[in-house]
């Protein structure tokens, strides 16, 4: 049983941020974020760089151009949940950039006295849910969206999924329920980088494709975009109908921005050497 679609859920589509997307600012931010992650990689032996680089533009777009600012000194009415918890390096650096997490907290990443680990933990500033085990985030996002509706609020819940976690049955339970509940304020993204631990998803799971058709069949509004084109991501979300959940299937490249990391599985969980770091920084800085 579900309640009726609230008028506010339709209205908020109109009340979203104005379409004033600044592409060059987004590129500059993403360049800065990738560099910050590379800097952090020189202090810890292992971290998920490639998975963070594949969703850098997506998460930047959500935090910096889609989520609405809250009242002064209050958080946004909207919520972000990183279902692919291993990609949270990008979340950490954006939260630092937005003044939610301190530089000291990031500098203490994965150290005995630090508060930030490899996966996001609920309770840390700006972290709305603990994730890390795949297949949990979308159900929690559905519950959050139902709570927003129940409270008569128009908060939009944004969630980023990996393509690998679409193999979890629990994800499809939530896919079915989100559209059945007509959760127009749920916006999900698939970081479709075609890579998981044992190889290319397109080779190990050819029946996985086409992705968008599956979500459409389950009653979602779907759109496919270049996941490294922040403007395209932004526009895809702004154009949503708002009467059912939106799934943005984002074509991405794992390790995007550093040539030797792109589509090379070892970089799922490895830190570059000092020499490799210098090469990576040059490439990131050179990217337009």
């Amino acid at each position: 049983m579900i309640g009726p679609l609230l008028n506010s859920e339709m209205d908020n589509v109109m009340a979203m941020r104005p379409n004033s997307f600044d592409a060059s600012a987004a590129v500059a931010r993403c360049k800065r974020y990738r560099r910050r992650i590379l800097d952090m990689s020189q202090r810890v032996s292992a971290l998920h760089i490639a998975g963070a680089f594949s969703c850098t533009e997506i998460v930047d777009c959500i935090y910096n151009t889609l989520m609405r600012p809250g009242p002064p000194s209050e958080p946004s009415p909207d919520t972000f949940l990183m279902s692919k918890g291993h990609g949270c390096m990008i979340q950490y650096v954006i939260l630092e950039d937005r003044g939610v997490l301190s530089a000291a907290a990031l500098d203490a990443y994965c150290t005995p006295g630090g508060q930030l680990g490899v996966h996001p933990d609920y309770g840390n500033p700006g972290i709305e849910a603990s994730t890390g085990s795949l297949g949990h985030g979308l159900s929690m996002a559905v519950g959050m969206t139902l709570a927003e509706r129940g409270h008569g609020r128009d908060g939009i819940v944004y969630v980023v999924l990996s393509d690998g976690e679409l193999q979890e049955g629990s994800t499809w339970e939530a896919v079915l329920m989100a559209s059945s509940f007509r959760l127009g304020n749920l916006v999900a993204f698939v970081d479709n980088n075609d890579f998981q631990s044992l190889g290319r998803t397109s080779q190990t799971h050819p029946s996985f494709y086409p992705l968008t058709d599956k979500f459409t069949a389950f009653g979602w509004e779907t759109v496919e975009v270049d996941g490294h084109d922040a403007g395209a991501i932004h526009q895809a979300v702004l154009a949503r109908g708002g009467d059912r959940p939106l799934m943005v299937v984002a074509r991405t490249t794992k390790g995007k921005g550093v040539s030797y990391m792109e589509n090379v599985p070892i970089w799922h969980y490895r830190s570059p050497s000092p020499e490799e770091y210098q090469v990576a920084i040059k490439e990131v800085e050179a990217r337009q």
Binding site: I2, S130, G132, S139, M140, G143, A147, E148, G150, M177
Partner: protein
């Protein structure tokens, strides 16, 4: 007991708009129909999708709601175990996971519907609290407590239907404290949940033999009232534990641990389900008996 749960939850939900019920194609009987018709936006049926049931309950709690997740015990705890562990316990959210028809209540449905190790499984997770009321009145007390607490997740282990009222004149219910249903001086029986009715029969029989018997509902299995159990082990010459649960990780095993810790000198007899899947498709009592849990056998062993 499930009707008592429904009525208590309906009453709480009428006063508190943050209470939600998430069910997996199983609905509590009785007052839950009133709940779902009066508060449709707070009655969420996810269908046969228990992982999603727990995840959605977690998402509601992350937005400050007070959710109950409800289905048959095996499906509320075992099927979505990692969601219970990660989404509820790791995040320490005030979600009540209701395990209905726990133990071997669903005798004829077979082992797929028996939760005979649920206390051990739930109790092993940090932050989880466990409450297992013995009768409809105690179930209402426990449900009210679950609806108001903000400490963290709870596994509420309840029966199904037809349990006799045994706590009408008992001392007040307090979370985390064993509750004496009757007090004697020679023997103390510690028990919890649906099987308390059988334990009462054992107590009656021992009293008819001239013994003075205490009967206690150990309704809170986690945190266990260690002091209360230690006191019973010190006070009585004989302590008997009767539980509808596997020998590992339940009240019997923990009582033995406490007995060692406090150097108890009393006689301690424990009666549990066996560590076995027993294919017996008779009544609940028939299956309990096949596990060795019957008044006659217990009485023959404690004499």
């Amino acid at each position: 007991m499930r009707n008592a749960f429904s009525e208590a939850l309906y009453q709480e939900a009428s006063a508190n708009p943050e209470i939600y019920v998430v069910v997996s194609d199983i609905s509590p009987a009785g007052s839950m129909a009133k709940f779902s018709s009066q508060y449709p936006e707070r009655f969420i049926n996810v269908g046969v999708a228990e992982q999603s049931m727990i995840g959605i309950a977690a998402g509601l709690a992350l937005k400050r709601c007070q959710p109950f997740a409800y289905t048959i015990a095996t499906f509320s705890l075992y099927r979505p175990f990692e969601m219970v562990r990660d989404d509820l316990c790791y995040q320490n959210l005030p979600v009540t996971v209701v395990g209905m028809g726990a133990g071997v209540v669903y005798s004829t449905l077979g082992g797929t519907h028996h939760s005979q190790e649920d206390i051990a499984v739930a109790g092993a997770i940090p932050n989880m609290q466990i409450v297992a009321p013995c009768d409809p009145l105690e179930c209402m007390e426990a449900t009210r407590w679950c609806a108001r607490q903000k400490t963290g997740p709870v596994y509420l282990r309840i029966g199904k239907a037809g349990e006799p009222v045994m706590t009408k004149d008992a001392e007040p219910w307090r979370f985390g404290k064993i509750r004496y249903l009757r007090r004697g001086t020679d023997v103390c029986i510690l028990t919890y949940g649906v099987i308390t009715a059988m334990a009462a029969k054992v107590a009656d029989a021992l009293q008819s033999q001239g013994k003075s018997v205490s009967l206690a509902s150990v309704h809170t299995l986690k945190p266990l009232d260690r002091d209360g159990i230690a006191e019973a082990l010190r006070t009585y010459a004989q302590v008997i534990v009767i539980e509808e649960h596997a020998p590992q990780g339940g009240l019997a095993a923990q009582s033995k641990q406490i007995a060692w810790d406090v150097r108890a000198t009393c006689r301690l007899d424990t009666f549990t389900l066996q560590d076995a899947f027993i294919h017996n498709y008779g009544s609940h009592d028939d299956l309990l008996s096949a596990h060795g849990l019957s008044p006659a056998r217990i009485l023959s062993m404690v004499a």
